[in-house]
Symmetry: C2
Subunit: 270 residues, 2 copies
């Protein structure tokens, strides 16, 4: 099964397992709305890519880790969109969860997704019969701005650990990649097309949030992004799948901030 199919299948299984008889239908609806249809599923794909590069000798465990990371990511999006944070009406091209289901159900859906993430992880780890040391750790501090990076590191560390490889070597790769994504997000927030992004742009400026693009200017932010991508590429540990993984990072960076469009972006922003 292709990585994306594995992820969608595991997510569907996880969400179904949470819908015990008697689960309030509106809450179940809000949870599904938060998870399906998804975005690019970047974090779980990264996790499976790392597991694959390391041999992926326990696909059930790597599926569980990838799924848990995506569920935590979806939870953070739901809570981020709440009126007390971004007050975002649109996410992934349609109504955000609180906009479609109300604020109470959005809070509950986010909570439920966090709980579900750990259930998936624990079930996967138990099935795998391994002592699982609770990676991905999600530091409390990471629940603010830094959470993008935390879930990327969780993806690389968790993928390596699921494949039975010492995970510490894989953390810097995830850290750099997470920072690169954050920088790309900042750039896209300034110059992106909301129809492509599926969410409003200009929010960082409107909400006075820290932003590479605001601090460095657009040209500086793009140079910073390129630097972060290079560091991520350099941080891929040596392993059979390393060349493929480095190519994946380069492709992904081209998708996020296309070289061909950079000149155009700079002209448009000027």
């Amino acid at each position: 099964m292709k990585p994306l199919s594995r992820i969608e299948h595991s997510l569907a299984m996880a969400i179904s397992s949470g819908e015990a008889p008697g689960c309030p239908p509106k809450l179940a609806g809000a949870i599904r709305h938060a998870v399906f249809p998804g975005g690019a599923r970047v974090r779980p794909q990264l996790c499976l890519a790392v597991a694959g590069a390391c041999g992926d000798d326990d696909p059930e465990l790597s599926n569980a880790v990838a799924t848990a990371i995506e569920l935590l990511h979806c939870a953070s999006l739901v809570h981020d969109d709440l009126p007390c944070f971004d007050d975002a009406p649109v996410r992934r091209g349609r109504a955000s969860v609180h906009y479609a289901y109300g604020e109470s159900l959005a809070v509950l859906a986010g909570d439920a997704l966090i709980v579900l993430a750990f259930q998936v992880l624990a079930t996967g780890a138990t099935k795998a019969g391994q002592a699982w040391e609770c990676e991905p750790r999600v530091n409390l501090a990471d629940y603010q701005r830094a959470k993008t990076g935390a879930l990327f590191a969780a993806a690389t560390v968790g993928g390596a650990q699921a494949a039975g490889v010492s995970p510490d070597l894989w953390r810097p790769f995830g850290d750099w990649l997470g920072e690169a994504y954050q920088a790309a997000d900042d750039i896209r927030d300034v110059v992106g097309d909301p129809r492509v992004l599926g969410k409003p742009v200009g929010r960082d400026v409107a909400l006075v949030r820290p932003s590479a693009a605001r601090e460095l200017g657009l040209e500086g932010a793009i140079a910073y992004f390129d630097q972060l991508v290079q560091r991520a590429v350099d941080a891929v540990p040596e392993c059979p799948g390393a060349p493929g993984l480095r190519a994946l990072v380069r492709n992904e960076s081209e998708r996020l901030v296309p070289k061909a469009q950079q000149a155009e972006l700079l002209r448009a922003a000027a």
Copy 2:
């Protein structure tokens, strides 16, 4: 160490472990505000009482389970108090978390406490070197009204499991006790003294929530409560500590809805 001291010590360790360097101080403050000073710590005490009745051969694991349950409970209180739910200004006799720290930090603090609960559980289970089957399971449906009962069942099931005893036998005890607590809460919401409870009363009526006292009348609700307590007592499985545990339930029910005050309560409510 006495059970309550064990619980406070474990909670303090858990909260400190979450305060990594760089944890935003306001978020750390909101988390501490949610956990300390606590209420009666009923759920973790129940968990340790069950573990004790079963021999408590792995105190580190039972501490972890008890602590995780209390952290989930604190998280649910923080989110329940939010403006989109109860909009409660007061909890445990002082400002609720969102009232003291704002809504955003209250959402984040609740999220962080859920994550921390699972980290504590996983760390405890790993240290204990056991395959831990992710009890306490918290069903998604339980995140609404039913969550009181869910955490009580988690406390009895988790306590038994931590002591290496088959957990399924212990679930009905927790279920009945959880229902009894809910009924007591309904009764106290109608007739309680807010100075004693440390939270506003009359919320069930104001918010048109299901309530035993509203449905059965006060006298009926008290009879219902007595019945639930008796069922909980009857549901304690046979084990060396069973008599002590039954006595504990009777003492606790007397604390919640004192017999001596029932006549007075009924007169006052009439």
